[in-house]
């Protein structure tokens, strides 16, 4: 029965649209409350508190969790971001090049590195490369490896974002620049790219959030105590104390950064929307 039928014959059997809507909402509330009650009753609260929220263990994590683990996570993320941005820029320009092989190469790179799990890249950089090329050292030790692994993955995504940003700059901008005597390269760097970056600031910040989380893959590189980041630090401490509190604290540290960043992205997007209007 369609809505129109109901309205035409309001006195008949069957529900009006308004009643249907309130019924559906009622059912959802009932399910929600039932689930909460079921969880509250079935969970062993004492044990959960013991596992996840032991004040003494949490206290013991400070200040290292911030001064060492969070600091390293931020360092890994930023170095990966810088490498990814530089490489992504080059790949984006190659993708837009008038030279066929460049476009083709860039396309292949993007497809490969977007299609592979980041974990596999980490293992590749951390294990396969040293085995395949004995004696070669990636500059910067663990930091260099992480920057490279994260950067390789991020570059593929950023290249597509940057390309989209460049193409979103109106064609007239390039024409105006060229007619003023700018060479194609100079027009790109002075006029087009600065505008493209304004457009892609929100997606780039999103990429930063993704990298921040992906930096946890350092776990698989084998790092020294001083090179541990949040996830590794949390896991190590969880196993030595046989308690999950460190995992919870590490998780909160991630959220401490990702939630504000997400907020910033939404603000920028809203602002960009307004600017369009």
């Amino acid at each position: 029965m369609t809505a129109t039928d109901v309205r035409l014959q309001p006195k008949k059997k069957g529900l009006t649209r308004r009643r249907k809507r309130s019924l559906s909402r009622g059912v959802q509330y009932v399910v929600f409350v039932a689930a909460v009650i079921a969880f509250a009753v079935s969970a062993d609260w004492g044990r959960l508190k013991n596992q996840f929220a032991q004040g003494s263990i949490a206290k013991q994590m400070f200040p290292d969790v911030i001064t060492l683990a969070l600091k390293n996570t931020v360092l890994y993320t930023l170095s990966g971001f810088v490498v990814g941005l530089a490489l992504g820029m080059v790949i984006a320009l190659m993708r837009l090049s008038s030279v066929g092989p460049y476009r083709w190469l860039a396309g292949v790179y993007i497809e490969i590195f977007r299609g592979l799990p980041a974990l596999l890249i980490f293992i590749f950089i951390g294990v396969a490369v040293p085995l395949a090329f004995p004696g070669t050292e990636i500059v910067g030790g663990t930091y260099g490896k992480v920057a490279l692994a994260l950067g390789l993955v991020a570059a593929a995504y950023m290249a597509e974002t940057i390309r989209a940003g460049i193409q979103a700059v109106p064609k007239g901008q390039m024409e105006a620049a060229r007619s003023l005597g700018f060479s194609p390269a100079r027009a790109m760097t002075s006029i087009i790219v600065p505008q493209a970056f304004r457009i892609i600031l929100p997606p780039l910040t999103n990429e930063l959030v993704l990298l921040f989380k992906d930096s946890s893959l350092v776990l698989f590189l084998g790092v020294t105590l001083e090179e541990r980041e949040l996830s590794k630090y949390g896991r190590d401490l969880a196993s030595t104390t046989a308690n999950s509190t460190p995992i919870l604290v590490a998780g909160l540290c991630y959220l401490l950064v990702t939630i504000p960043l997400g907020f910033v992205v939404r603000r920028m997007e809203a602002k960009a929307q307004e600017a369009v209007k």
């Binding site: 109106p170 007239g172 901008q173 024409e175 105006a176 620049a177 060229r178 007619s179 003023l180 005597g181 700018f182 060479s183 100079r186 002075s190 006029i191 600065p194 505008q195 304004r198 600017a275």
Partner: protein
Amino acid sequence: MSEQPAPAGPEIEVRGLRKSFGDNEVLRGIDLEIRQGEVVCVIGPSGSGKSTLLRCVNLLEEPTKGQVFVGGTELTDPDVDIDAVRRRIGMVFQQFNLFPHLTVTENLTLPQRRVLRRDKAAAAKVAAENLERVGLSEKADAYPASLSGGQQQRVAIARSLSMGPEVMLFDEPTSALDPELVGDVLAVMRVLADEGMTMMVVTHEMTFAREVADRVVFMDGGVIVEDGSPEQVIGAPRHERTRHFLARLLDPAMAQVEEETSDQVGGSG
């Protein structure tokens, strides 16, 4: 290659120019000469190829065939430094195309600094002079988005002038403007014309063409149909197509209908 005996020759010379977009031939053999200091208005229905012709003159569109000379240099010569030649040719677009991320002053100084390698102070001085010329000194620190269309177009003209061009090309400079803003832009162009700038103007402003132009060129279907003084081309057109076009311009209600049915050919505007 073809270094023309410069001073005596025409400032702009177009020879046998043809331009196709795919199968669509927009320009079918254009020959045109514009002397130094001359103001030439190009009129014609939409799709007649007039904008494409203008864009071929600074090689924003690559001609399919034919030659274009500006100030004695052949632009269509593949070995010519097109960026160097374009510095001598100012271009004003229908959509202004100011750089939105820069202030008005930066719009005027950045090209001077990057392209002409002027130092900061010299560029700022030239920018200030040209803003004064278009009557917008008080908007020096504004961003383009905060200006009216007419003000943006005057800034665009000032930006071109800051490069010290020998020739100015105008591609329907007032077509995107609200009617009450057209006058300010035309006034600036009129002063430029009086100062002796060589100008090629694609426009629908018949009053401007009649009063300011030294010559009016009427194009239709990718060819020049009529070329002569404004009195002759607008006042006493010889060709039926010109008469028809002018009649439609004078009776906009009729023009509306005709515009929709006439084929919209490539090239912006």
